[in-house]
Amino acid sequence: MTELTPAEVAMFRQIMAVAAILWTLLIIYIGYLDSKVRSLDERLK
Protein backbone atom coordinates (compact mmCIF):
# COMPACT_ATOMS: atom_id res chain seq x y z
CA MET A 1 0.00 0.00 0.00
CA THR A 2 1.37 3.39 -0.99
CA GLU A 3 2.08 6.04 1.69
CA LEU A 4 -0.90 8.36 1.91
CA THR A 5 -1.43 11.29 4.24
CA PRO A 6 -4.46 11.07 6.62
CA ALA A 7 -6.19 13.80 4.59
CA GLU A 8 -5.67 11.82 1.37
CA VAL A 9 -6.97 8.62 3.00
CA ALA A 10 -10.11 10.43 4.20
CA MET A 11 -10.68 11.95 0.73
CA PHE A 12 -10.18 8.62 -1.05
CA ARG A 13 -12.54 6.88 1.37
CA GLN A 14 -15.24 9.40 0.46
CA ILE A 15 -14.56 8.96 -3.26
CA MET A 16 -14.58 5.17 -2.90
CA ALA A 17 -17.86 5.24 -0.96
CA VAL A 18 -19.62 7.41 -3.56
CA ALA A 19 -18.18 5.40 -6.46
CA ALA A 20 -19.14 2.09 -4.82
CA ILE A 21 -22.73 3.26 -4.21
CA LEU A 22 -23.12 4.56 -7.79
CA TRP A 23 -21.58 1.45 -9.30
CA THR A 24 -23.74 -0.86 -7.17
CA LEU A 25 -26.88 1.07 -8.14
CA LEU A 26 -25.92 0.80 -11.82
CA ILE A 27 -25.37 -2.96 -11.59
CA ILE A 28 -28.68 -3.45 -9.76
CA TYR A 29 -30.46 -1.34 -12.39
CA ILE A 30 -28.93 -3.37 -15.23
CA GLY A 31 -30.00 -6.57 -13.46
CA TYR A 32 -33.53 -5.19 -13.11
CA LEU A 33 -33.63 -4.26 -16.83
CA ASP A 34 -32.37 -7.72 -17.76
CA SER A 35 -35.13 -9.30 -15.69
CA LYS A 36 -37.81 -7.11 -17.31
CA VAL A 37 -36.49 -7.88 -20.81
CA ARG A 38 -36.55 -11.61 -20.19
CA SER A 39 -40.07 -11.64 -18.77
CA LEU A 40 -41.31 -9.50 -21.71
CA ASP A 41 -39.63 -11.95 -24.08
CA GLU A 42 -41.61 -14.79 -22.50
CA ARG A 43 -44.89 -12.87 -22.80
CA LEU A 44 -44.29 -11.86 -26.43
CA LYS A 45 -43.65 -15.50 -27.33
Binding site: M1, T2, L4, E8, V9, F12, I15, M16, A19, A20, W23, T24, I27, I30, G31, L33, D34, S35, V37, R38, L40, D41, L44
Partner: protein, 237 residues
Amino acid sequence: MKFQRKQAVILLAVLWAVVLYAMYQVLFSLGPLSEELLRFEGDPMRHGYKIFFFSMQAAAITYIAFAVVLVGSVVYLRTKNLKWDTIASSSAKVGIVFTTILLVNGAIFSNVGWGAYWNWDPRQTTSLFLWFILAAYLSLRTAVDNIETRARLSAVLGIFGFVGVPLTHISSTIWVSNHPQLYNTAQSSGFSLDKSGLTLFMILMTSFLILYIYMLWLTYKIETQNQIYQNILRGEQ
Protein backbone atom coordinates in the same frame (compact mmCIF):
# COMPACT_ATOMS: atom_id res chain seq x y z
CA MET B 1 -25.61 -20.02 -27.53
CA LYS B 2 -28.26 -18.31 -25.40
CA PHE B 3 -27.36 -15.87 -22.63
CA GLN B 4 -29.28 -17.38 -19.70
CA ARG B 5 -30.48 -15.51 -16.64
CA LYS B 6 -28.08 -17.38 -14.33
CA GLN B 7 -25.13 -16.46 -16.60
CA ALA B 8 -26.26 -12.84 -16.55
CA VAL B 9 -26.37 -12.75 -12.74
CA ILE B 10 -22.88 -14.29 -12.49
CA LEU B 11 -21.52 -11.83 -15.08
CA LEU B 12 -22.98 -8.83 -13.23
CA ALA B 13 -21.67 -10.06 -9.86
CA VAL B 14 -18.17 -10.60 -11.28
CA LEU B 15 -18.18 -7.18 -13.01
CA TRP B 16 -19.33 -5.50 -9.80
CA ALA B 17 -16.60 -7.13 -7.70
CA VAL B 18 -13.78 -6.70 -10.23
CA VAL B 19 -14.43 -3.00 -10.87
CA LEU B 20 -14.77 -2.26 -7.14
CA TYR B 21 -11.49 -4.07 -6.48
CA ALA B 22 -9.76 -2.18 -9.30
CA MET B 23 -11.16 1.17 -8.04
CA TYR B 24 -9.87 0.44 -4.55
CA GLN B 25 -6.41 -0.50 -5.87
CA VAL B 26 -6.23 2.62 -8.05
CA LEU B 27 -7.12 4.89 -5.13
CA PHE B 28 -5.17 3.29 -2.29
CA SER B 29 -2.37 1.19 -3.80
CA LEU B 30 -1.17 3.15 -6.82
CA GLY B 31 1.57 5.59 -6.01
CA PRO B 32 1.40 9.33 -6.63
CA LEU B 33 2.75 11.01 -9.77
CA SER B 34 6.56 11.21 -9.65
CA GLU B 35 8.02 14.45 -8.29
CA GLU B 36 9.56 15.59 -11.59
CA LEU B 37 6.13 15.55 -13.27
CA LEU B 38 4.50 17.75 -10.63
CA ARG B 39 4.12 21.36 -11.75
CA PHE B 40 4.46 22.97 -8.32
CA GLU B 41 4.49 22.21 -4.59
CA GLY B 42 1.15 20.69 -3.56
CA ASP B 43 0.08 20.03 -7.16
CA PRO B 44 -3.34 18.28 -6.95
CA MET B 45 -2.28 16.15 -9.94
CA ARG B 46 -0.14 14.22 -7.48
CA HIS B 47 -3.08 11.86 -7.05
CA GLY B 48 -5.47 13.58 -9.45
CA TYR B 49 -3.89 11.74 -12.41
CA LYS B 50 -5.79 8.63 -11.27
CA ILE B 51 -8.94 9.99 -12.91
CA PHE B 52 -7.22 8.91 -16.13
CA PHE B 53 -8.07 5.30 -15.22
CA PHE B 54 -11.77 6.06 -15.66
CA SER B 55 -11.86 8.80 -18.28
CA MET B 56 -9.71 6.77 -20.69
CA GLN B 57 -12.14 3.84 -20.51
CA ALA B 58 -15.13 6.13 -21.08
CA ALA B 59 -13.38 7.64 -24.11
CA ALA B 60 -12.51 4.23 -25.57
CA ILE B 61 -16.08 2.95 -25.16
CA THR B 62 -17.44 6.17 -26.70
CA TYR B 63 -15.24 5.62 -29.77
CA ILE B 64 -16.34 1.98 -29.98
CA ALA B 65 -20.00 2.98 -29.69
CA PHE B 66 -19.55 5.43 -32.58
CA ALA B 67 -17.83 2.71 -34.62
CA VAL B 68 -20.77 0.35 -34.05
CA VAL B 69 -23.19 3.10 -35.11
CA LEU B 70 -21.07 3.61 -38.25
CA VAL B 71 -20.96 -0.10 -39.11
CA GLY B 72 -24.68 -0.58 -38.39
CA SER B 73 -25.54 2.45 -40.53
CA VAL B 74 -23.39 1.38 -43.49
CA VAL B 75 -24.67 -2.20 -43.44
CA TYR B 76 -28.28 -1.00 -43.14
CA LEU B 77 -27.91 1.27 -46.19
CA ARG B 78 -26.47 -1.63 -48.17
CA THR B 79 -28.88 -4.38 -47.07
CA LYS B 80 -32.00 -2.44 -45.95
CA ASN B 81 -32.22 -4.94 -43.06
CA LEU B 82 -33.76 -3.09 -40.09
CA LYS B 83 -31.85 -5.28 -37.63
CA TRP B 84 -28.72 -3.22 -38.41
CA ASP B 85 -30.59 0.03 -37.83
CA THR B 86 -31.65 -1.34 -34.43
CA ILE B 87 -28.03 -2.23 -33.60
CA ALA B 88 -26.90 1.28 -34.58
CA SER B 89 -29.57 3.03 -32.52
CA SER B 90 -28.92 0.76 -29.53
CA SER B 91 -25.23 1.62 -29.70
CA ALA B 92 -26.10 5.33 -29.86
CA LYS B 93 -28.25 5.03 -26.73
CA VAL B 94 -25.54 3.24 -24.76
CA GLY B 95 -22.84 5.46 -26.27
CA ILE B 96 -24.43 8.67 -25.03
CA VAL B 97 -24.27 7.30 -21.46
CA PHE B 98 -20.52 6.71 -21.77
CA THR B 99 -20.01 10.06 -23.50
CA THR B 100 -21.74 11.73 -20.55
CA ILE B 101 -19.43 9.85 -18.16
CA LEU B 102 -16.48 11.03 -20.31
CA LEU B 103 -17.61 14.67 -20.08
CA VAL B 104 -18.15 14.50 -16.30
CA ASN B 105 -14.78 12.79 -15.77
CA GLY B 106 -13.12 15.31 -18.04
CA ALA B 107 -14.66 18.19 -16.11
CA ILE B 108 -13.41 16.78 -12.80
CA PHE B 109 -9.92 16.24 -14.28
CA SER B 110 -9.98 19.78 -15.70
CA ASN B 111 -10.91 21.23 -12.30
CA VAL B 112 -8.19 19.25 -10.52
CA GLY B 113 -5.55 20.06 -13.12
CA TRP B 114 -6.40 23.55 -14.31
CA GLY B 115 -8.76 25.05 -11.75
CA ALA B 116 -11.98 25.14 -13.81
CA TYR B 117 -14.56 22.50 -14.69
CA TRP B 118 -14.79 23.85 -18.23
CA ASN B 119 -12.18 25.87 -20.08
CA TRP B 120 -12.99 25.22 -23.77
CA ASP B 121 -9.98 22.98 -24.13
CA PRO B 122 -10.04 21.38 -27.65
CA ARG B 123 -10.34 17.86 -26.21
CA GLN B 124 -13.19 18.88 -23.90
CA THR B 125 -14.96 20.80 -26.65
CA THR B 126 -14.71 18.05 -29.25
CA SER B 127 -15.93 15.51 -26.66
CA LEU B 128 -18.96 17.73 -26.12
CA PHE B 129 -19.32 17.78 -29.91
CA LEU B 130 -19.50 13.95 -29.80
CA TRP B 131 -22.27 14.15 -27.20
CA PHE B 132 -24.22 16.57 -29.41
CA ILE B 133 -23.86 14.23 -32.41
CA LEU B 134 -25.41 11.34 -30.46
CA ALA B 135 -28.11 13.61 -29.03
CA ALA B 136 -28.94 14.78 -32.56
CA TYR B 137 -29.02 11.17 -33.79
CA LEU B 138 -31.46 10.14 -31.04
CA SER B 139 -33.57 13.29 -31.48
CA LEU B 140 -33.81 12.64 -35.23
CA ARG B 141 -35.13 9.15 -34.55
CA THR B 142 -37.95 10.45 -32.36
CA ALA B 143 -38.93 13.05 -34.98
CA VAL B 144 -39.60 10.64 -37.86
CA ASP B 145 -42.55 8.22 -37.76
CA ASN B 146 -41.92 6.18 -40.88
CA ILE B 147 -39.61 3.29 -40.00
CA GLU B 148 -37.65 3.12 -43.28
CA THR B 149 -37.24 6.92 -43.54
CA ARG B 150 -36.11 7.07 -39.93
CA ALA B 151 -33.57 4.30 -40.50
CA ARG B 152 -32.23 5.90 -43.68
CA LEU B 153 -31.85 9.40 -42.20
CA SER B 154 -30.32 8.03 -38.98
CA ALA B 155 -27.86 5.95 -41.00
CA VAL B 156 -26.66 9.00 -42.95
CA LEU B 157 -26.23 10.98 -39.73
CA GLY B 158 -24.49 8.00 -38.08
CA ILE B 159 -21.98 7.78 -40.93
CA PHE B 160 -21.17 11.50 -41.05
CA GLY B 161 -21.21 11.74 -37.24
CA PHE B 162 -18.26 9.36 -37.02
CA VAL B 163 -16.06 12.23 -38.27
CA GLY B 164 -16.17 13.50 -34.68
CA VAL B 165 -14.17 10.53 -33.40
CA PRO B 166 -10.81 11.08 -35.18
CA LEU B 167 -11.28 14.83 -34.73
CA THR B 168 -11.61 14.37 -30.95
CA HIS B 169 -8.66 12.03 -30.87
CA ILE B 170 -6.25 14.38 -32.66
CA SER B 171 -7.68 17.61 -31.19
CA SER B 172 -5.07 17.85 -28.44
CA THR B 173 -2.22 17.49 -30.95
CA ILE B 174 -3.41 19.77 -33.76
CA TRP B 175 -4.62 22.54 -31.45
CA VAL B 176 -3.07 24.09 -28.36
CA SER B 177 -4.41 22.00 -25.49
CA ASN B 178 -3.92 21.40 -21.78
CA HIS B 179 -4.78 17.75 -22.23
CA PRO B 180 -1.81 15.44 -21.46
CA GLN B 181 -0.36 13.59 -24.42
CA LEU B 182 -0.39 9.84 -24.02
CA TYR B 183 1.96 8.86 -26.82
CA ASN B 184 5.65 9.51 -27.42
CA THR B 185 5.41 12.81 -29.21
CA ALA B 186 7.34 16.01 -28.87
CA GLN B 187 4.57 17.23 -26.57
CA SER B 188 4.54 14.08 -24.46
CA SER B 189 3.90 14.76 -20.78
CA GLY B 190 6.15 11.82 -19.89
CA PHE B 191 3.38 10.12 -17.96
CA SER B 192 3.64 6.32 -18.17
CA LEU B 193 2.22 3.40 -16.21
CA ASP B 194 4.20 0.80 -14.29
CA LYS B 195 3.25 -2.90 -14.38
CA SER B 196 0.62 -2.70 -11.62
CA GLY B 197 -0.88 0.44 -13.14
CA LEU B 198 -1.05 -1.17 -16.55
CA THR B 199 -2.73 -4.28 -15.09
CA LEU B 200 -5.37 -2.17 -13.36
CA PHE B 201 -5.85 -0.17 -16.54
CA MET B 202 -6.44 -3.34 -18.59
CA ILE B 203 -8.79 -4.78 -15.94
CA LEU B 204 -10.92 -1.62 -16.01
CA MET B 205 -10.83 -1.42 -19.82
CA THR B 206 -11.97 -5.04 -20.17
CA SER B 207 -14.70 -4.62 -17.55
CA PHE B 208 -16.11 -1.50 -19.19
CA LEU B 209 -15.99 -3.16 -22.60
CA ILE B 210 -17.97 -6.14 -21.28
CA LEU B 211 -20.41 -3.71 -19.66
CA TYR B 212 -20.87 -1.88 -22.98
CA ILE B 213 -21.52 -5.15 -24.87
CA TYR B 214 -24.02 -6.28 -22.23
CA MET B 215 -25.85 -2.92 -22.26
CA LEU B 216 -25.86 -2.98 -26.08
CA TRP B 217 -27.44 -6.45 -26.07
CA LEU B 218 -30.02 -5.34 -23.50
CA THR B 219 -30.93 -2.17 -25.43
CA TYR B 220 -31.14 -4.16 -28.67
CA LYS B 221 -33.56 -6.63 -27.03
CA ILE B 222 -35.70 -3.78 -25.67
CA GLU B 223 -35.86 -2.10 -29.10
CA THR B 224 -36.74 -5.36 -30.83
CA GLN B 225 -39.50 -6.08 -28.31
CA ASN B 226 -40.81 -2.55 -28.77
CA GLN B 227 -40.98 -3.08 -32.55
CA ILE B 228 -42.85 -6.38 -32.10
CA TYR B 229 -45.27 -4.68 -29.70
CA GLN B 230 -45.84 -1.81 -32.18
CA ASN B 231 -46.54 -4.38 -34.92
CA ILE B 232 -49.06 -6.13 -32.67
CA LEU B 233 -50.81 -2.80 -32.00
CA ARG B 234 -50.99 -2.19 -35.75
CA GLY B 235 -52.44 -5.67 -36.21
CA GLU B 236 -49.54 -6.95 -38.35
CA GLN B 237 -48.82 -9.90 -36.09
